[in-house]
Amino acid sequence: MNNIFKFAIYIFLTLAFAWLAFFVGAKNQYGDLEPTSQYLEENNSIPKGADLFPQSMPGVAQLGAKEYLSLGCVTCHTQQVRTIDAGFDVERGWGKRPSVPRDYILQKEVLLGHNRVGPDLANIGLRGYTREWLHKHLFNPQILVEGSICQPSPFLYDISNERSSGAINADNKADDNVSTIFIKPSLRANRIVSYLQSLKQDYELPEMSFIETQDEDDTEDIKLAEVGTAKDDQVGLPTWLADQIASGKEIYSKITPGGGMCVACHLPNGLGQPGAIPPLDRSDWVLGDKERLIKISIHGLMGEVVVNEEKYVGVMQGFGQPLGSPLNDQQIADVLTYIRNEWGNSVSAISPEEVKAVRDSEKDRELTAMWTEAELQKENSSD
């Protein structure tokens, strides 16, 4: 106690012991924690071909997590469902089961939080809120939940008094004709909403299965009904976009002549086949450069491609080809808009004009000449 160096070492050790247990000890336990299937075989191995959980968030949601952090939402919202012995979270309908360490293993920023002035958000993506509802809530919570003390974030939106495409009616009056406030979400607002929608622990894990609550009436659902929210996902979209997506979906999944036949290879879930057919869901090719995407859909693509850091070798016909039934500009725009907004994707639409521009710029190219990845990259870098 009287020798400062000895004293300093004791002081250091008191901390070091706790740190060793809580960090080094727990780190060892977390070390081999990886996504796993919902249930295991008898010998504790993962069944072949089973989906692994938790799944990583779509890229746009990961960007949304950063926005969520920078606005300080974590001050009032937790993202954890406590065990049934330790809390009332499952009974309250905040989750189908308690959260476990594995749920967070893929998240870069773990925002558990420890204050609940607002409700828990660990399963906000499961509660049936539409994008429109979430945007309105971000813009001004008080118009949806009377008496809410959640802070409005009008700075994330373009506000106008006129109805325009892509704008959301954010007035107290539900009727579009009477309303005077229309908001257009900024990129950041869209990211946050995508992030919120991706927050869900809707899978079981070997260490934790769903817990059945006695009260089947979901309180959150009742609350939703009270504020009069439509549940259909497409309601929040402006008509032109909803139309494009609906038509795109039809083309995507139609295998008869006149359709795109995309579904035959890329599958209804947009995941493709490992090694042969690249995924569309959260693919960097789909979410990325529009021009490249349009080029591929017109002329096709062959050879080796790298999508999301995975190699695929295969051939894809172009849909501008005269063989079979070529798609027109509108149809290509529709189907591309659809795949850019389905599954975990949520990015801008593609208009027929953009398709036409690409078609015109590649007029000299033979319609049967498929692109290769090297060729596309060269084009890009020369730009």
């Binding site: 004293f7 901390l15 920078s70 001050t75 406590r82 773990v110 609940r116």
Partner: protein
Amino acid sequence: MKKTSEQQIDQSAKFAFSFFVASAGLWLLAAALLAYIAAAKLTDPLFLSSWEFFTYGKIKISQANAFVYGWGGNSIFAVSLWIVARLSQSPVRGTIFLIFAGSMWNLAITFGLLGILDGHMLGHELLEMPKEVWPALFISYLIIAFLILVVFRSRRQSVTIAPQWFIVAALIWFPCLFLFAWNGLEINAGRGTLQSILSMWFGQNIIWLWLTPVALGCAYYIIPSVLNRPIDKYYLAIFGFWCIAGLAPWSVVHHLEGGPVPMWVPAIGTVMSIAMVFPIAVASTNFHATAFKDISRVWNYLPLRFVIFGTLSYTISSYIGVIFSVPAVAKLTQFSIINEFHFNQRVYGFFSMIIFGMVYHILPQVTGKEIGTAAKNFHFWTSALGVFALLLAYLIGGLTHGVLAQQPSLAWINVIESVKPYFLITEFAFLILGFSQLVFVLNLWKVIVPNPFSCCEKNLEQKTA
């Protein structure tokens, strides 16, 4: 070794002490302003809402940081410098380095807070300031702590006493804590909720192992010094000290109870925080058994009145904290605004009150000027009232919040509706506290900084003459 008189020590500490106390005062005002804005935003969500700089989350977080690092850090440097120098009977050296490092510390916090408000915060509790400012903060801290420890090393009496243990330990704890947390959060970042464990561990330990020991050390110094009698049952103090050192780093993780972390982490935390009754009991026995032997002196000497208010508040609410860490109770209160009660009790009701007392005790000895009794009394009573209102509102509001939240049939908005009146009370409490702190800081600056207008007045007089 040649003995240095108390006056000589005071003289050597004058400049550095005044610098730290003056900047601490400014941070206190900044924190008070931010606290008021945050409280006002809870009662009226539309208040300042159109400006992104002022979202509730950012304000709340920057308030905590301004308070802990700005006011807490600067006042810790000031009082520990002076107490260590006086108890070692050795003068302060390297004032110029202290001022330099202190400026760096304050500058880094300023940039850090602006960074938070600009949206560049990190997601770790009380480590929210952007990455870039931490090296500057850490280096300036090391310089200051080193210079204080140099004074400690040259002490006259080689055997140390309680105030020295607490203060020196706090000075060493902070950099260790920081390095442990920084390693686990940024360098070898842990996966998943491991981050949450470490961030919780750091954020709570900053309060328990940095602010708390310094305040306890101050109390261990000022009580015997003013009452002219040694600490009662002093032999328990060493037990209390090592209990805090041994238990606090383990106890703080009990806030993770039921969360997505291995169950043993909060389980150990819960048990250790129940065991914390010992150091709390020891400290309160030491302080109050001594103080109540001469209560009239405590009452009449205002700095001591502040300190005893602080120690009483420490005792009562630490016991409340122990009760709330029992799993059956934690189930209700874990995520409610009881957390605000804990934080505000510790920083306002305990730490700040003791520091106020110490500043009022030290300032006249260092500068030779006394702050007016009326101002001091006003400060004491408004502070006491504000702290009472604040803590009571958070306590009762937190219980309401917790109890109502566990009824699944009650919509969340109804839960919040019933907590709203308490938010209104806290807004008023923060207003009172802010006003009282304004009076404190104005008087402080009046004593420390020579009036710049005095020469102008003279000039004016000459001109008119």
